[in-house]
């Protein structure tokens, strides 16, 4: 923990260089990413923001190795993931990356506990019981472990998803609109947990959101517009983010 904490702000966890991603062909081609270069420091909570169609989700998918890029490169730690085969990408996702999605985060057939441990099982790794207990207690799901997702509230489901993302101690957690489907109270719980994981455990978190309040939980906000980087805000507040967005929208 202390080792991680000392890295804060000094080491780069994820870096993208000259990323280009084009959807479609010919006249209908859309340059979703048009030469994006950005770096994310380890142990930081970064939010990517921008209007609809700005390319923020595409950027995250490319950073996480979920989607291929047309040119440019992405590094996670020392590995250039844009060169990896599907098999190696799968392995990378399994071992070094955690995900939290907007909805449909959990397998309906598995209990909360099984869902949390699914990634580790896929990787064939033994869960670290102390770490597992720490996370479960932090998200406050101790008494819900044996429940199926349909028996949990939306906020609880999302906290299970967060626990699953963290339990494998990934180098980086990507969160795609994690509060998009939640009411503001449940959303705040999830965001609190994500911020705490950064503060307490030195976790690196990259979150895509369109909600200025959610973004205000982050250490840094990266703004996007039309496939380009459009600026950034350090130590954002809801108001400063809103102001920046209004500027972008105009």
């Amino acid at each position: 923990m202390s080792a991680l904490a000392s890295d804060v702000g000094t080491r780069t966890a994820v870096a993208a260089r000259d990323l280009v991603k084009v959807y479609g062909k010919g006249d209908t081609a859309v340059r979703a990413l048009d030469g994006v270069g950005v770096a994310f420091a380890a142990g930081q909570f970064t939010a990517i923001m921008g209007p609809s169609g700005s390319g923020k989700s595409t950027l995250m998918h490319c950073l996480a190795g979920l989607d291929t890029v047309d040119s440019g490169s992405v590094h996670i730690g020392q590995s250039e993931i844009t060169r990896l085969s599907d098999r190696d990408l799968t392995k990378l996702r399994r071992d070094r990356v955690g995900f939290v999605f907007q909805a449909f985060n959990l397998l309906p057939t598995l209990t909360a506990e099984q869902n949390i441990l699914l990634g580790l099982e896929l990787a064939g790794r033994k869960p670290d019981q102390v770490w597992f207990d720490t996370i479960v207690d932090t998200v406050g799901l101790r008494d819900r472990l044996r429940h199926k997702p349909t028996e949990l509230s939306g906020g609880q489901q999302q906290r299970v998803a967060c626990a699953r993302a963290l339990v494998s101690k990934p180098e980086v957690v990507f969160a795609d609109e994690p509060t998009g489907n939640l009411d503001s109270r449940s959303g705040a719980e999830v965001l609190d947990f994500l911020r705490m994981s950064v503060r307490k455990f030195g976790q690196t978190v990259i979150m895509v959101t369109h909600d200025p309040v959610a973004a205000s939980y982050a250490d840094r906000v990266v703004l996007m517009a039309d496939g380009h980087l459009a600026g950034e805000i350090a130590n954002p507040t809801a108001d400063s983010v809103l102001a920046a967005l209004r500027h972008l929208g105009a």
Binding site: H61, L66, D67, D86, R87, T90, K91, R93, R94, D95, F99, F101, A103, F104, N105, L107, P108, T109, L110, L118, G119, E121, L122, A123, G124, P149, T150, R164, N181
Partner: protein, 838 residues
């Protein structure tokens, strides 16, 4: 609303095509069977038509007032034929008669052939010349085309028939012909001789019919009236028209059996297809919950939603019926070609008569089954609340409900009903009982199907244990997936289960039957070899027994004979056996008097024969030239009805040959060597036919296996439909779980593992159906076999483990194959696209 439905149909074409394959196959089976039936009927009509063509008047021996069959024995006399010929207006009249005559084939062995007297007049012949010409001289013969083919005989070759003293009569084959269906043509080999050549060969010259052609200008009725007057009331005279009507009445009994037999299997296939369709629509409706809810939000009422689902089913049913009908035509053509080659007949060209009835039934079955199968899912669609459009549904879970009281009550009723019917069937203990028990088991099968959603969970836990242990996470997920929706899994499984149950039942019952019949043969075959006459009316020469005794390989030779005598005015067939064979090859269950000894004047009768002839133990009867004393009666009806010693038989009917010679080989003689010795000793007699218990058994086993293969093929179609059902369910599940699959991929499941997961799920579903099916089939077969078992024939229960294992293996393999396409599809979807899909 119509536009929406049609747009939906266009959008989901691929899914619907896959689902409709089940209906296509079912309709193809039904229409193929009906077309085959029509073709067979048409063949029969043609064949019968040949029998009646050109006949203006038919004269047959009439029933006299006393009604005794014996009095008809003389048939129509030559005088009566002459009288008919003399009637004015008769252009030609010919006697139709025939006799069983031994025809010696190329291998030197005789086979009984039905030889008919050739009608003198061309118009009255029921044969169509195929090659050469009809006999014109006494030493010429024409053969039925099939007979010539089987016996490897051709026009121009010499052939011989045996006269009554078994002396060969040389003949020249001058032609081959095809002939219409009649009593004679059904019995196998057939040939035509001039009446003058046939008369000395035939034991009795019985003319059962005279056919008459009329002169120009004379009506059938006129001529019939004139002939009736001329021959008096002794003969029955009918017009050609009436004769045709009478003949056609027999047809209804012709092809009906085969068609009905096949329609039963077609019905099974349709039931399975209906389950697949039901399942498909249930899944489609569940997946479209959002879409349907949106329609309701916009203002569609429940009726419109219901109708839109049914319209979809209707279009699918029509589409499938068209394809199915086309496939049915092909199937029928293939079957006719197959039937022709199996039964070795040049049955003529393949006919495909497509009647209006067949088309209507094909469409009716296809559309009605599809629409009916969609009714329940459509009703479920109407229950979708408009608000569902706004919710995100992770899984089509609305149909996941476990047991309900209604279901359990339904299961209980079916189980009680099936059990009751089986009980009645088992108690009645005859052939009807066997069918009743069979029906009972089908009701029980229904109970198990209804119970399905309740049992798939536990069964899956048991079956999934091993893969879970061996293959880790993908297997765990697959096992959980297989039962996440018990109703869906149960319906998919049930389709396969029906087929496998029936196949198992047939296989086990057939194996048990085969086993008990072979053991029955062992009992009935007291000897190693049997020599019998190939021609019923021609007994074996007595010299044959001496020739057999001369063989060093032969230990004992036991000849038996038979003769017909008149006892108290009724004819009685006496069976002659050596006096010392009682208690050995002839075992009698004594009922009255003494049946342990055969003296020179002893007669033994079965109980029923004693009653029939009104004889009691101690009574004396005159038979032939001898007086016999009834010494005892016996109760086993499987034995000959009247037994005397062989010497007595020779005394009563001198010169009678042997009916059968039983031979026991010396110890240490191999079956082949024994067979060769017996064949060598009988080579001189063309009518001697050698049989052995072993040969009879393998012959019978072969026939049972052939029948089993046909049944397997017929039920196989239902299994194929069920496998399409599995593939279909999996494909739809994969579509439904696109986001889930993407999530798993995002979490680190490789493409291979994702495919493997589906493979295991498919195999688990297949195994569930196959294992339950095999277990049920074995149980049902046990019931049916014990219903089949009577005092006379004890049917033991045999488990053909090898065949069942092969069946299970095939089911697993087929289920794995069924998973290939869905698995590829699931693996292909990109992670991002999968997550984005609503």
């Amino acid at each position: 609303m119509l536009k929406t439905t049609l747009a939906g149909l266009r959008a989901r074409t691929a899914r619907l095509v896959l689902s409709s394959i089940a209906i296509v196959l079912g309709v193809a089976f039904v229409s193929g069977t009906l077309i085959l039936g029509s073709a067979l009927d048409a063949n029969l009509h043609n064949d019968f038509a040949r029998q009646t063509r050109g006949v203006d008047v038919s004269v047959e021996p009439g029933r006299s007032s006393s009604g005794s069959a014996d009095e008809d024995r003389g048939g129509i006399s030559q005088t009566q034929l002459d009288q008919v010929r003399a009637v004015p207006g008769v252009a030609a009249a010919d006697a139709r008669w025939g006799a069983q005559v031994p025809l010696v084939g190329a291998n030197g062995k005789a086979k009984s052939a039905t030889v008919s007297a050739l009608e003198g007049d061309q118009r009255l012949r029921m044969t169509d010349l195929q090659e050469g010409r009809m006999p014109a001289k006494a030493d010429e013969i024409a053969l039925d085309a099939t007979t010539a083919q089987t016996a490897k005989l051709a026009v121009g070759q010499k052939v011989s028939v045996l006269d009554q003293a078994d002396k060969p009569v040389p003949l020249t084959i001058v032609g081959t012909y095809t002939q219409g269906v009649s009593k004679s043509s059904l019995s196998g080999d057939a040939a035509v001789l001039l009446p003058s050549a046939l008369a000395p060969l035939a034991k009795e010259h019985y003319v059962g019919q005279v056919v008459v052609a009329a002169d120009q200008g004379v009506s059938q009725q006129q001529l019939a009236d004139r002939i009736s007057t001329a021959v008096g009331g002794k003969l029955s005279v009918k017009t050609g028209e009436q004769y045709t009507v009478d003949v056609l009445k027999q047809i209804s009994r012709g092809s009906g059996g085969l068609t009905q037999f096949m329609l039963v299997f077609a019905l099974i296939a349709l039931v399975v297809a209906a389950m697949v369709i039901y399942n498909t629509f249930t899944i489609l409706v569940a997946q479209r919950t959002r879409e349907l809810a949106l329609l309701r939000c916009i203002g569609a009422d429940r009726g419109q939603v219901f109708r839109s689902v049914l319209l979809e089913a209707l279009v699918m049913g029509l589409f499938a019926s068209v394809l199915g009908l086309g496939a049915g035509v092909g199937l029928s053509a293939a079957l006719q070609a197959g039937v022709g080659s199996v039964f070795g007949g040049s049955k003529g060209p393949v006919q495909l008569p497509l009647t209006v009835n067949t088309v209507l039934i094909a469409f009716g079955v296809g559309v009605v089954v599809t629409v009916l199968s969609a009714v329940l899912p459509a009703l479920r669609a109407t229950r979708v609340a408009p608000l569902a459009a706004l919710r995100s549904l992770p899984d089509s879970q609305d149909e996941v409900r476990r047991t309900s009281v209604v279901r359990m009550a339904f299961v209980a009723i079916l189980a009680l009903l099936g059990g009751g019917v089986c009980f009645i069937g088992l108690r009645s203990g005859d052939s009807v009982g066997f069918i009743v028990t069979g029906l009972g088991t089908m009701v029980l099968l229904g109970a198990v199907i209804a119970l399905g959603p309740v049992i798939v969970g536990p069964v899956n836990r048991v079956l999934g244990a091993l893969p879970r242990l061996l293959f880790g996470v993908p297997a765990k997920l697959a096992s959980a997936n297989a039962t996440r929706n018990p109703k869906r899994t149960a319906a998919t499984t049930a389709a396969l289960m029906i087929g496998v149950t029936i196949v198992t039942m047939i296989t086990v019952a057939a194996a048990s039957g085969k086993e008990s019949v072979t053991s029955e043969i062992d009992k009935q075959f007291p000897a190693d070899y049997l020599v019998t006459s190939a021609v019923r009316e021609h007994p074996l020469p007595t010299s044959l027994a001496d020739q057999l005794r001369a063989q060093p390989e032969v230990q004992t030779v036991t000849p038996t004979g038979s003769a017909e005598v008149k006892v108290n005015g009724k004819s009685l067939y006496l069976f002659g056996t050596p006096a010392d064979s009682l208690g050995k090859s002839v075992q009698l269950k004594q009922s009255q008097g003494d049946v342990s000894r055969l003296g020179p004047d002893t007669l033994l009768l079965s109980d029923s024969q004693a009653t029939r002839y009104g004889l009691k133990v101690g009574d004396r009867v005159r038979a032939g030239g001898a007086t016999l004393t009834l010494a005892g009666t016996y109760s086993n009806e499987d034995q000959s009805s009247a037994i005397v010693s062989l010497e007595t038989l020779q005394r009563i009917a001198p010169g009678t040959g042997y009916r059968m010679i039983m031979i026991k080989a010396r110890d240490g003689v191999s079956p082949q060597a024994g067979q060769a010795a017996v064949e060598k000793a009988t080579a001189s007699s063309p009518i001697a036919e050698v049989a052995s218990g072993a040969a009879r058994k393998s012959d019978l086993a072969g026939r049972v296996d052939q029948m089993l293969m046909i049944m397997w093929a017929l039920v196989g179609l239902a299994v194929v439909i069920a496998l399409f059902g599995i593939a279909n369910t999996l494909t739809l599940s994969v579509l439904e779980r696109t986001r889930e699959s993407a999530l798993l991929r995002a979490l680190g499941l490789t493409r291979g593992q994702l495919g493997f997961m589906l493979l295991i799920e498919s195999v688990l579903i297949g195994l569930m159906g196959a294992v339950i099916g095999v277990l049920l089939g074995i149980g049902f077969a046990k019931l049916v076999v014990s219903a089949l078992s009577t005092d006379k024939l004890q049917v033991g229960f045999v488990l053909p483990a090898g065949q069942l294992a092969v069946m299970l293996a095939v089911a697993v393999l087929a289920a794995a194959v069924a998973a290939v396409l869905p698995a590829r599809r699931a693996a292909r979807t990109s992670v991002v696209a999968g997550m984005a899909e609503a």
